[in-house]
């Protein structure tokens, strides 16, 4: 059974549809890139998957042992965070909040998990550093470490590389790819970067006026895909 199945999903705000006929499945180990224009509803779709937004119609089913609160989420950056006094350690540890339920304090295992993920994201030595004083790439790695504390199965990444310089972007993609290939974590990533999407993804979901869902190769043969390969140069794909 698939980890996530979406059937005839309709999303919208205040009775106004922004997306309809959304059908796709995500299986364990997939690397799904969600592409589409700004404002087409990519973030909204992610919020619906996380239960932060109620679909107007349709169904989202979780399977394969995945529970909704076991998803690791990396949100689009919000303004509040920019001047928030918080250390790297505090933020990563807050990824364990789903595990500890109503228990007021984090236990040893959770602290160890946080330390492991800080290490994994190459942030060792930064534990006590202030989040707002880190570079953009470091900040994203902190949030990725936090997401990893919340899941062992599925990551939802909302534009994880926006605002990063090319070099750091490449590093970030490599890191995500490593998590997908080596640790077997399913990845769903919103991205504007078609080239990267085609390089790493196993599946593509294109939303907007022209919907597409399928594997990377099917996408390249599809009409939407042909349009993009023309735009961005087919040789790279």
């Amino acid at each position: 059974m698939a980890q996530i199945t979406c059937e005839n999903l309709i999303l919208g705000y205040d009775g106004k549809e922004i997306l309809r006929n959304l059908n796709f499945t995500v299986n364990a180990g997939d690397y799904l890139c969600i592409v589409g224009e700004n404002g087409s509803g990519k973030t909204t779709l992610m919020k619906a998957l996380l239960g932060l937004h109620t679909p107007m119609q349709g169904e989202i089913t979780f399977g394969d042992g995945l529970k909704r609160n076991e998803i690791g989420y990396l949100p689009q950056q919000t303004l509040v965070q920019r001047d928030f006094p918080a250390s790297v350690e505090e933020i990563v540890l807050s990824g364990c909040q789903g595990r500890c339920g109503l228990r007021p304090f984090y236990n040893k295992a959770e602290k160890r998990l946080a330390a492991e993920n800080i290490d994994k994201m190459g942030l060792k030595g930064f534990e006590k550093r202030c989040y707002r004083e880190l570079s953009g790439g470091q900040q994203q790695r902190v949030l990725l470490a936090r997401a990893l504390c919340a899941t062992q199965k599925l990551l939802l990444l909302d534009e994880p590389v926006s605002g990063l310089d090319p070099h750091v972007t490449t590093e970030m993609y490599a890191l995500i790819n490593h998590l997908n290939k080596m640790d077997g974590i399913t990845v769903m990533m919103i991205s504007h970067d078609m080239e990267a999407a085609l390089r790493y993804a196993t599946h593509i979901l294109h939303i907007g006026k022209r919907m597409f869902y399928g594997t990377r190769d099917e996408f390249l043969r599809s009409e939407v895909g042909k349009y993009f390969t023309l735009m961005y140069g087919g040789d790279k794909a």
């Binding site: 919020k47 996380l50 932060l52 928030f84 918080a86 909040q97 007021p104 304090f105």
Partner: protein, 276 residues
């Protein structure tokens, strides 16, 4: 100076004032960071005006013990404000402004209509800016304040990690299954309790200062949520003590003196923050 102080500290009413002052300063500083960062500072301001209105109603009704009544009204308003803020038909800010200005007007009107006091403007002024009422506390009031403070501190410590999570990133907290709405409600209720407590000390107009200044000062210098929280609690208590003692000895208004000390501390911390 020290001699005069030790003389004053022998009086029970001064002791009460110091105990209550310290407790209130401690409580009010705890949620400062959350308030500032969640853009909730307006709610604090709005609620303090509601509390003013509630006091006016209480005195119009000739209630002998105002605090419980004011507490209930303020907590309910906090819940209401948060609700309207969330599913905003009227924008959050606007509804807060409506409620706060409305309560001020109605409160003053009621005080005018029903006041038996000969010194009306004095009464109004002391409700707004804090009075010497901190120096006329009864033992019962000290106990009430003690219990409520204990409640606030206990809730804050127990939910410290959740409050951090919800303040830092509400979307993520929700996605991890944390009931962010419930915690927002909890935060609003605690704020309401703190405001009612703090009215005794600094009056309704100056409460926001008591809540926000220590947090802003601490944020200039410290980098983690924990250190900011601890620093603002300590700073708030120290400022309140200094302010209170100055006010007692020099006869200045208690609330404004404490806030003035808070402002001085803020300036000091800003300088330290720049030099670091």
């Amino acid at each position: 100076m020290m001699y005069i102080l030790s003389q004053y500290l022998q009086f029970p009413f001064v002791q009460y004032a110091v105990i209550v002052g310290v407790l209130i300063a401690l409580c009010s500083s705890l949620l400062g960071v959350t308030l500032v960062l969640k853009r909730f500072s307006f709610i604090g301001d709005g609620l303090s005006h509601v509390a003013f209105g509630a006091i006016a109603i209480a005195s119009a009704l000739n209630l002998t013990n105002e605090t419980p009544f004011v507490m209930v009204v303020t907590v309910l308003s906090a819940i209401l404000l948060l609700r309207t803020g969330q599913n905003a038909k009227i924008k959050g800010d606007a509804s807060i402004a409506m409620l706060s200005v409305g309560s001020l007007a109605i409160g003053y009107l009621l005080m005018n209509l029903f006041s038996t006091s000969t010194n009306l403007s004095g009464d109004v002024c002391s409700t707004l800016f804090g009075s010497t009422s901190i120096l006329t506390l009864t033992k019962g009031e000290v106990w009430l304040c003690g219990i409520m403070s204990l409640f606030v501190v206990a809730v804050f410590i127990l939910f410290y990690n959740k409050i951090f999570a919800v303040t830092f990133d509400e979307s993520f907290a929700k996605s991890a299954g944390t009931n962010a709405n419930a915690y927002n409600l909890l935060i609003a209720v605690i704020i309401a309790v703190i405001i009612v407590l703090a009215m005794n000390l600094v009056g309704s107009l100056l409460i926001s200062a008591l809540v926000i200044f220590p947090a802003l000062s601490a944020m200039r210098v410290f980098k983690s949520f924990k250190s900011v929280t601890i620093c603002s609690a300590v700073l708030s208590v120290i400022c309140a003590l200094i302010g209170l003692l100055i006010a007692i000895v020099a006869g200045t208004p208690v609330g404004s003196t404490i806030v003035a000390v808070d402002i001085l501390a803020f300036a000091l911390f800003t300088v330290i923050g720049i030099m670091k």
